[in-house]
């Protein structure tokens, strides 16, 4: 064992400890075995479910591992059965879903498809034809073109279906105008202009302070810089994008028209309030885009945009004389920026309906 320290004075301490503690023994706690037993049980189960190989069998000692082998067989069998059943169900599902796809417009699955489908009364014996009921319908639809071969019939039938969809009022621009037309109250009294107070509606564009809109804007007064205009063009973007046809900004729930001589019904004596609808049709009633208390705020800018964001009117020092000349009916958005009595810049924005 320890040959190294023949003359080593240190061997005394070594000997002391070895002699005293070499055979040292101490009784562990009483619970030691139960703890150990529990751990051994856990390990046994763990080894079993992880299919750990059992130790070599030996001389007649029964072991729990061996006893459990029949259980392992049952677990394996049931898992296998579950797998088999689920695959069968899966295959069933898939095959059922595959059935409708046989009706696709291809010539490849003619034979198999036709054998399963109910034959329609007028069977096309052309070997190239696709004889499923769906195709038969298309053929009936396009039967007024008998000179066409079957494949092109099929194609045209499909295209016909699609074109029908397109021809419906699904065209965005058309839909919008149609929907705007629906939201306009019918104004049957479209008389030509009357009264001499009002500017002549048949005036030429260049004499009208408010310009017609054709994608470009001009101000009869001062023209702001293009950059400033561009900024203003975005001002109403949120309002425009949020706009919901049918909703309106008036708190009373109805469109607010103004007529000359009409008392101020907004209940607001100081702030500018926009009458959010006007009918510039020449009948003398609410012909102009009107703002209550406008006279108090001569230092202002009025911006009108349509639903596409195009600037319709961009006027400085608006005085209430815009009659939407050249502007079609519909929903527009205004941004009225003004300087109040204290010199603060303020603005109001909202929706305005032009209804003739």
């Amino acid at each position: 064992m320890n040959e190294e320290f023949n003359l080593d004075p240190n061997h005394e301490v070594d000997d002391l400890f070895r002699n005293t503690l070499g055979g040292y023994s101490e009784t562990p706690s009483d619970a030691a075995w139960s703890r150990l037993n529990k751990k051994l049980n856990y390990k046994e189960v763990h080894d079993f479910v992880t299919f750990k190989k059992p130790p070599a069998k030996s001389s007649g000692w029964p072991t729990p591992v061996y006893r459990m082998q029949w259980f392992r067989g049952i677990v394996a069998a049931s898992v296998g059965a579950a797998l088999v059943v689920s695959t069968i169900l899966l295959v069933n599902n898939l095959s059922q879903e595959a059935q409708p796809s046989n009706q696709h417009l291809t010539d490849s699955n003619v034979v198999s498809g036709s054998q399963k489908m109910v034959q329609p009364p007028t069977v096309n014996t052309d070997p190239n034809s696709v004889a499923t009921p769906y195709i038969q319908q298309l053929q009936n639809q396009t039967s007024d073109q008998p000179e066409n071969s079957v494949p092109s019939n099929v194609n045209s039938g499909v295209n016909e279906q699609r074109s029908i969809v397109n021809n419906q009022p699904g065209n965005l621009a058309d839909a919008r105008t149609r929907e705007e037309a629906n939201t306009q109250p019918v104004n049957a009294d479209s008389n030509p202009q009357q009264g001499s107070n009002l500017p002549d509606l048949n005036q030429q564009p260049d004499q009208n302070p408010a310009q017609s809109y054709a994608g470009r804007y001009e101000d009869a007064g001062q023209v702001d810089s293009l950059i400033a205009a561009a900024i203003r063009q975005d001002s109403l973007q949120q309002l425009i994008s949020d706009y919901n046809p049918g909703a309106n900004e008036d708190s009373t729930g109805e469109v607010n028209f103004y007529n000359p001589g009409q008392p101020n019904i907004t209940g607001n004596e100081n702030n500018p309030v926009v009458a959010n609808g006007f009918t510039p049709n020449g009948d003398g009633l609410n012909e102009y885009f009107y703002i209550y208390n406008l006279e108090k705020y001569p230092d202002n800018v009025l911006l009108i945009q349509d639903r596409k964001g195009r600037i319709v009117l961009d006027k400085k020092n608006y005085t209430g004389d815009w009659n939407a000349y050249g502007v079609p009916d519909g929903t527009y958005f205004y941004l009225f920026t003004y300087k109040d009595e204290q010199g603060q810049k303020k603005s109001i924005q909202g929706v305005v309906y032009i209804i003739r």
Partner: protein, 174 residues
């Protein structure tokens, strides 16, 4: 004292009764071994538990080329060493001078030291010294084997041993 061959067979077969028998027969001795390598009784019991778990699960690797007892002892020591390695990061390596020497054996004659006292002294050694001293002085391993078991150099093993001896000498006043 050797274990009955049949009992060994039972342990290898993982029979709970055989395992219980072996445990009851050797628990105190194993506990004694673990006490030498650990700082406290609780830690020693944990290590002993782990050691027996290893013994019982690896019993099938016993090659029957020696005494089963020696084989078990070797496993227990290895478990203790593993425990020491696991806890290495928790032990801070202190200087010899910092160790408080509150356990001073008062007796003049070395043979009068009780086993309990010596065990206490041994347990108070820093872990590294303790392991090396145990392996060399009590188990009887050579420095080469110790270096391999602990993954240290022979030089480290020798210096650890001498430091351990110095410390123990100081405590038992040899």
């Amino acid at each position: 004292m050797s274990i009955d061959e049949k009992l060994v067979d039972g342990v290898i077969a993982q029979n709970r009764k055989a395992q219980r028998s072996v445990f009851d027969r050797y628990r105190s001795m194993m506990m004694g071994i673990c006490m030498r390598y650990c700082k406290s009784r609780d830690e020693a019991e944990d290590v002993m538990m782990e050691g027996f778990m290893t013994i019982f699960s690896e019993a099938h690797t016993f090659r029957r080329d020696g005494a089963f007892e020696q084989w078990m002892k070797r496993i227990m020591i290895n478990t203790a060493i593993n425990n020491y390695r696991k806890n290495l990061k928790h032990y801070f390596h202190s200087d010899i001078d910092d160790i408080d020497e509150h356990t001073m054996i008062k007796s003049e004659v070395a043979e009068n030291y009780s086993a309990k006292d010596l065990m206490k002294v041994l347990q108070e050694l820093p872990e590294g010294y303790k392991v090396v001293f145990n392996l060399y002085a009590i188990e009887g391993y050579k420095h080469k084997e110790i270096a391999r078991m602990l993954n240290i150099t022979v030089g480290t093993s020798k210096s650890q041993l001498s430091k351990a001896r110095k410390m123990l000498q100081g405590k038992v006043k040899i």
